[in-house]
Symmetry: C2
């Protein structure tokens, strides 16, 4: 099945990062083929950004990992594990009710009898987690989603959540209904391995990982591995 | 001392690679803040390039290594070792005389007596290697350099070569004068660790490494190390 296209959050004002970065390089060292008028346009857009700091992001590999240049190591971030944990913490830490994002057009979802029952049992908890879902005569109508998950394919997302509740061993083992839904939502809502990310999306994800204490995904898998520069240099015989 | 600024070779027609790459991503998935007119400008410049193939270069780290995404591994290329070997092979394989690049303005170089003698002893070999250097009354005048080394700081470069001939154990051990000069020229002419590279320069260097059988620098150090994707995935518990 086609992968869910979604965004990590708000679109940044700056041009995509790597564009800006390479422009910066061209202008600081020498001018290549890039016309000066074009460069100037970009710089203007980026000025605010560079007054802050330079991003350590090198790029995305295999559409699955984000490479980050740190002082002591080359860090490889697993985009899915990292985003899953970020979503998990976000949903979990909203002590009361998760902020809702009203859909411009409510989405109708058709379910089997079995699926309907599972959904019905979880409507209250889903509501607390930002999903306003009402029972129609035969179907369900989704009126709002959790803020931060605006860009998911809502119909597919809800079916995957129900599927998790019915089938996923990992989820079924959790006793608390809210926790069960959070675990499923975080996994299903996170970017997948194989999803191309915009530079701004990478920036945002890396920022969330670097600033916090996030070391593993909710299942305990590491969100990042580190290759020490000293070790790399040793391999090169330096 | 300030690092020598130089180029690996001809400037490519396309915009810097990572700019083009991220533009491609924006337009294929969704439009970010980049204005359409700007994107169109870039696409036009890049169209020819994308008809060929997509580069596997992710970027440069620590201004020293080039990261390349390969099917089976993440390849980390040592830019200095790689370029040194490329120059070495190029100079070595020109069986007769290396092509000369005439300098627009001949460069005068002042030397100590000892340095002058070493240079004088090697003028014929240097001429074969593309360096046309004439003795003035007191100084030396450089009229041409080896093609491919046009962008070196010629004065500094020649002094480093002389320095190698006088002091470097590695060079002194080599008996053949031509071989001695080639080894020194390759090392001194190559980009250094710490030199920022343009995307087009990375492209060119990586192409030369990937296409050939180059595994080590002239001293036997590896030009690249490979991190297998399977191993990386194992570390992530996948």
């Amino acid at each position: 099945p086609r992968r869910i296209m979604r965004r990590l959050g708000k679109v940044s004002d700056i041009q995509s990062f790597s564009e800006v970065r390479s422009i910066e390089r061209s202008t600081e060292r020498r001018s290549l083929s890039a016309g000066p008028s074009l460069s100037r346009l970009r710089r203007n857009a980026a000025d605010d950004f560079f007054e802050k700091e330079k991003s350590p992001i090198i790029g995305q590999v295999r559409d699955s990992y984000i490479l980050v240049e740190e002082k002591n190591c080359l860090k490889i971030i697993d985009q899915h594990a990292a985003h899953e944990r970020v979503l998990y913490e976000k949903l979990k830490n909203e002590k009361e009710r998760v902020k809702k994002q009203k859909l411009l057009v409510p989405v109708k979802i058709e379910l089997t009898l079995k699926e309907s029952e599972v959904l019905k049992d979880n409507l209250k908890t889903l509501d607390d987690l930002g999903f306003d879902i009402k029972k129609d005569s035969k179907n369900f109508i989704i009126n709002s989603v959790a803020a931060g998950l605006e860009k998911i394919e809502i119909n597919k997302f809800i079916k995957e959540i129900i599927d998790d509740l019915l089938n996923s061993d990992r989820i079924k083992k959790i006793k608390d209904a809210r926790e069960k839904l959070i675990a499923s939502m975080a996994c299903r809502g996170a970017v997948m391995a194989g999803d191309k990310l915009e530079p701004s999306e990478m920036e945002e994800l890396v920022e969330q990982i670097q600033s916090g204490e996030i070391k593993t995904c909710p299942h305990g898998r590491p969100v990042a591995i580190e290759l020490n520069w000293n070790e790399i240099e040793k391999k090169f015989g330096r």
